[in-house]
Symmetry: C2
Subunit: 338 residues, 2 copies
């Protein structure tokens, strides 16, 4: 993506100003089921076009672009899926995450980036009611349905990191549970784990479905409402804060964390999953870039560095916090001790 040394070039400008076409082309390929068609054995533009009810010319140009972007490979006039595309974009794969476009490419989110200069001027979203964090915003139902497949692996990894022996009774609160997969991974990992999931009522419908599918309904209960207003109860060993703190500013988070602290049993732990940039705020690139998502879609959210998160937890009364990588994901886990 960079220019040859010493040779001024408008190439990066040109690529970046047209980058939106990459998003639109990927979305179109998912909508047309191009990846599934190729996974089923269709490999030429003519065969894929027939399977997808599209023009051969359109499919040829789209598939060439998918090769350029790294989603397909091409040998002569035959297209093949990359291993990642076969796993995540063929709708017959259990790890299919094409449904994520219902959330991640929905106009609820993408509209927040129109006239982005206004968000930069203001320092926060220009969308009404604080953007995505507006109470009972239906986007979180789309999130819960669409993003679950993307969360299956990180959820397992978090459960194994936090509860490696999985041999003790564990009472878990899953704050803003969404699809519920993080809490459910603990319940599946440890037969003595019980989970209380908190979220808006319509979002919890999705979490309860997933609990039923996981066969852990007897160890799964719910609290409906806002994390800032609902009564958490007490005596939790683990309170999960997965992809939640980035929506709010530090004082708001500290208010919540004091409530989390009070709800934990002695020796309990808050477990935070976040995009955590280094202190330079520009690396690693994907985690650091998440702050732009928050500038566009929330009033005052951010991708926080570990020292910032550590300070919020300390101010809320936690004794110490530790940062853990979670490869191969781009997120990290902060474990904070009561």
């Amino acid at each position: 993506m960079t220019s040859p040394a010493q040779q001024p070039s408008p190439q990066l400008f040109f690529q970046t100003i047209n980058a939106y076409q990459r998003s639109e082309a990927l979305k179109a390929a998912i909508e047309l089921e191009v990846f599934t068609a190729i996974g089923e054995g269709n490999s030429t533009a003519a065969d894929i076009a027939k399977r997808c009810n599209a023009s051969e010319r359109g499919i040829r140009i789209l598939c060439d672009f998918l090769c350029i972007m790294g989603f397909l490979t091409k040998d002569g006039d035959r297209y093949s899926l990359t291993p990642d595309s076969a796993m995540f974009l063929d709708s017959r794969s259990p790890a299919y995450l094409g449904g994520a476009i219902e959330f991640i490419a929905s106009s609820d989110l993408t509209d927040a980036f129109k006239n982005f200069a206004d968000a930069v001027r203001k320092g926060g979203t220009t969308r009404p009611d604080g953007g995505t964090v507006a109470p009972e915003n239906p986007i979180w139902v789309k999130f819960a349905r669409g993003m679950a497949p993307m969360m299956a692996l990180p959820a397992q990894l978090v459960a194994k990191l936090v509860d490696p022996s999985a041999d003790k009774k564990l009472k878990i609160l899953d704050v803003a549970a969404g699809h519920g997969l993080y809490g459910l991974a603990f319940a599946k990992n440890n037969p003595q784990a019980s989970v209380v999931a908190l979220d808006w009522p319509r979002v919890l419908d999705v979490a309860r479905e997933n609990a039923a599918n996981a066969g852990v309904t007897d160890r799964y209960s719910t609290i409906e409402g806002s994390a800032f207003e609902a009564d958490f109860g007490t005596g939790y060993d683990v309170i999960l804060l997965t992809n939640f703190l980035h929506h709010f500013d530090p004082p708001t988070n500290e208010t919540l964390l004091r409530k989390v602290h009070a709800a934990l049993a002695d020796g309990g732990r808050a477990v935070t999953l976040e995009f955590v940039p280094n202190e330079d705020r520009i690396s690693p690139p994907d985690a650091a870039a998440f702050s732009v998502m928050m500038l566009g879609s929330t009033t005052s959210g951010d991708a926080y560095t570990f020292p910032e998160l550590d300070r919020m937890f300390a101010n809320a009364g936690f004794s110490h916090s530790e940062l853990h990588q979670l490869p191969p994901t781009i997120e990290q886990v902060v474990i904070s001790q009561k």
Copy 2:
């Protein structure tokens, strides 16, 4: 942009589906004059924010993202321009091309990529009247004004390639001249060159302005109208087809090229500047990706390979065509002999 070997990852999916935020952030930075502000010596988020009438928080997040994308560098809390950004994105630079967003990021173009699946189904633009090639589409005035700075270097390179000695009388027709820079580069390169520019009337206003600025008005004349309908006249030594053939299908191009052939003097040459992918149609990536721009914005345009262009010229009566690289640009030049 690729996953570590053997480790399945949804990272490329996530990056690509969010790629539109890169376009929007770059557009916002240009609109807010962030690059100019930094070029003037403002280096902290606070100072840049003050200069750009924006919030410090918004500027900090935007500038970090510009670092991640490769447009800025960061040392501590101080941002600097890269050499490319200083040359092309600081509005005080003579090579400033921020004005290109008025064309390249205009809704005339970007709307063509909404519901892109429909364009793939149809095999062409879903925009009315054939998209960007509709007669007298005002987008070409935006093009002529906005894209000129990006074309200054390639125009010089084409003139020097085609007329290296610059010591003979040369009569040039510049088809779909737009800003006029290609023809004007010949006029500036060779004091015996005269140029006839053809385009829609309002577009020619821009070309005539540029001719006046170049001081070559006495060797510059114009023909108003469509390249397919206007009378070209005859006896041209060079006919320029710069970024034109990609808008149309091969039969349409051959019709035009027969007209070009007839208008050339004996020994005359057609000079075509194009995005020319290799025969695999997926390399080089930027030239090959241009076909997506044509799928979205035209009825039947494409980025043609050299064998395809060669065949069109041969079918129109040209004796032979040669392909020339034009580094550092990503386009190539086809010189076709009458």
